[in-house]
């Protein structure tokens, strides 16, 4: 569910490394935020205690020393005043400090009836030392605001002790600190992560490329084993699988070769023997049947070998190719037409494309009376089109026609054989070329089969 929701986000990256890094970055940020909140709370508590404590201690001290108070020690700078009237306090009430002070008095074991605290604030003239300290820290000198806490404790009914203490008014710059710390953390965590990620991603990319290459060409170089242990194991397993598949495909080729040879030999024997048949018509039909069996055998072998062609790809003028194929049909007196075409160069295996085109033209002649061949040169693809004048194929059977061993029933030429491998073979050849076989009924009737090849 979550993964699906994430996928819908357009900015969410698909790459493994990018996803890990973004997740870690988010997790780090959340952790930092929680950390910061806890720190802030702790700090506030300490600050509160630090603000409360001097006042509390002075009052406690003063109350303890009351009986034998020596005058002169505090002199005229007496820090605690004893009052018999509730003082009128001005300034901002600080209930937080009041609560803390009450708790501290209770901890010490002093019974205090009530505590009141206010904060008075007034500008404090800059002292030379402060000035110096600020400059050293690289800050511009500015007026400090001085804040004083005035604490009044009613220690007996009708008797109050009052004291004042200084507190720093400036809040430390906590936000900047958080950002800075987070950035440093990012650098410490994400840089190695990036490195690990690349180490992970590169072999994975190689694996993907190798697998794709295998799918396209039926062979691929083994992938170099590197990266972290798990990935290396995956690579080893992949390479092992690759060579197993490779061995199986080779085995298949050898087997098909053997089958082909073993079937062709008795066919050849039969073909030779037909010549001793007296009846001319019978002999012709027999050799026709043998040729038919041989063609089917060839088709099956070609289809089984599709995708494992040893032919090299080369730049070919497909118009010239179509021309040559059509010319061969014309030599045999087949009803084929070729439209005049521009040069259309693509990188293909020419023998295979010849084969594919030949199959389409044969189909067109057998099922559609005539074949009209043309070449269309688009921006990114070239289409070799074979149109016929037959009944076409009903839409729901089009896909099926490209499957092996499917034949169009009810064709008028029932005796024209074939194993129904023609289109399957064409499709296999197209797939190997990164192209496609398209079938469509023409509006004016007849079927249009086209080989679509990347230009």
């Amino acid at each position: 569910m979550m993964a699906k929701a994430l996928k819908r986000l357009r900015l969410w990256p698909q790459g493994l490394v990018a996803q890990i890094i973004i997740l870690v970055a988010i997790a780090l940020f959340v952790a930092q935020a929680i950390n910061f909140a806890l720190l802030l709370r702790e700090r506030t508590r300490i600050e509160l205690t630090a603000q409360t404590a001097p006042g509390v201690y002075r009052i406690v001290d003063a109350l303890d020393n009351r009986p034998n108070r020596r005058s002169g020690e505090d002199g005229d700078r007496r820090r605690v005043q004893f009052l018999t009237q509730a003082p009128a306090l001005q300034g901002m009430p600080r209930p937080d400090v009041e609560r803390r002070a009450t708790a501290m008095f209770a901890d010490i074991g002093l019974t205090i009836r009530s505590v009141r605290v206010v904060e008075e604030s007034q500008p404090l003239p800059m002292r030379r030392w402060d000035n110096f300290r600020l400059r050293a820290a690289g800050e511009r000198p500015h007026d400090m605001r001085m804040a004083r806490l005035v604490m009044v404790a009613e220690y007996e009914p009708g008797k109050w002790a009052m004291t004042q203490s200084r507190i720093g008014a400036r809040q430390p710059r906590f936000g900047g600190w958080l950002v800075g710390q987070t950035l440093i953390l990012y650098a410490i965590v994400l840089v190695p992560l990036l490195w690990v990620g690349r180490r992970l991603a590169r072999p994975l990319r190689q694996l993907t490329r190798s697998a794709e290459q295998f799918a396209r060409t039926g062979s691929a170089d083994p992938v170099e084993e590197r990266g972290p242990g798990d990935v290396r194991q995956l690579t080893t397993a992949f390479n092992a699988m690759r060579s197993r598949i490779f061995a199986m495909l080779n085995e298949k080729d050898r087997m098909l070769g053997a089958i082909g040879h073993d079937l062709r030999t008795p066919l050849a024997s039969l073909r030779v023997r037909t010549e001793s048949v007296e009846d001319e018509g019978e002999r012709a039909r027999m050799s026709e049947t043998i040729d038919e069996m041989n063609r089917m055998l060839e088709d099956i072998l070609s289809l089984a070998r599709a995708g494992r062609s040893s032919e090299a790809r080369q730049k070919v003028d497909l118009s010239a190719l179509a021309d040559a194929v059509v010319e061969d049909f014309l030599e045999l007196g087949s009803p084929v037409e070729l439209a005049d075409n521009e040069r259309a160069v693509a990188t293909v295996r020419p023998q295979q494309i010849r084969r594919a085109l030949r199959n389409l033209i044969e189909n067109a002649i057998v099922y559609g009376e005539r074949a009209h061949v043309s070449v269309e040169h688009g921006d990114s693809m070239i289409r070799l089109i074979v149109a016929d004048e037959g009944p076409g194929i009903s839409e729901d059977r089009m896909e099926e026609m490209m499957e092996p061993f499917t034949r169009l029933e009810g064709s008028r030429n029932r005796e024209t054989g074939g194993a129904g491998l023609g289109l399957a073979l064409v499709r296999a050849i197209m797939t190997e070329h990164g192209g496609a076989l398209r079938l469509a009924n023409r509006p004016q009737g007849g079927l249009e089969a086209s080989l679509v090849l990347p230009a």
Binding site: R264, V272, D317, A324, E327, E331
Partner: protein, 239 residues
Amino acid sequence: MSERPHLLLVDDERSIREPLAQYLVRNGFRVTAVENAAEARIRLNANAIDLVVLDIMMPGEDGLSLCRHIRETSEIPVILLTAKSEETDRIVGLEMGADDYVLKPFSPRELVARIKVIFRRVATGGQRVTAPDGATYAFAGWLLKTQERTLVDSEGVSLPLSTAEYNLMLAFTTRPNQVLSRDQLLDITQGREANAFDRAIDNQISRLRKKIEPDPKAPTLIKTVWGGGYTLSADVRKL
């Protein structure tokens, strides 16, 4: 050569060897049929053999090896029988010096026709056109690749040729700067006699010109020789 040419048929498959030998005998040849290369070597030494029909796939020494041996020691023509249709096997066979090959299952009539073509060539003192397959000929900025039956232009783009075009092109590139009459061209390319109305060669020539001449109306490569025929006016190198 005696009245009835003497063929040596080498095939390990009895089911092919025996009926084929009978068929060849019926078609006017003397036939010695053997089942392996070793026996074939003995017969080659003992008899005056005019042509060898040789199966490639045989247990023991295979047909290709025997073919090479024959070519090294004599001028006896060889036709290979092969069950494989893989392009490479044909080429290897022709590089081994075979004169021709037929694919199994072959029509015995076709085999006889090919044997006769070879005998006619030998009788008229024609050159053995060995191993065109696999070779590449270069002329006037073009390459003729015989393995793929394509022309390659100066930009490296292949122009596939039809069978007839290819045969004609090969006839020219293997005989550059020679005047070839229509009859000769027909004979070389299709192994048949021309009849008076046969315009096939002229059609093929004009098709070829469209493909390779810079200006097909004023041909500079395949020139018409008045009253004689055609000639490929270019230097050909075999690569």
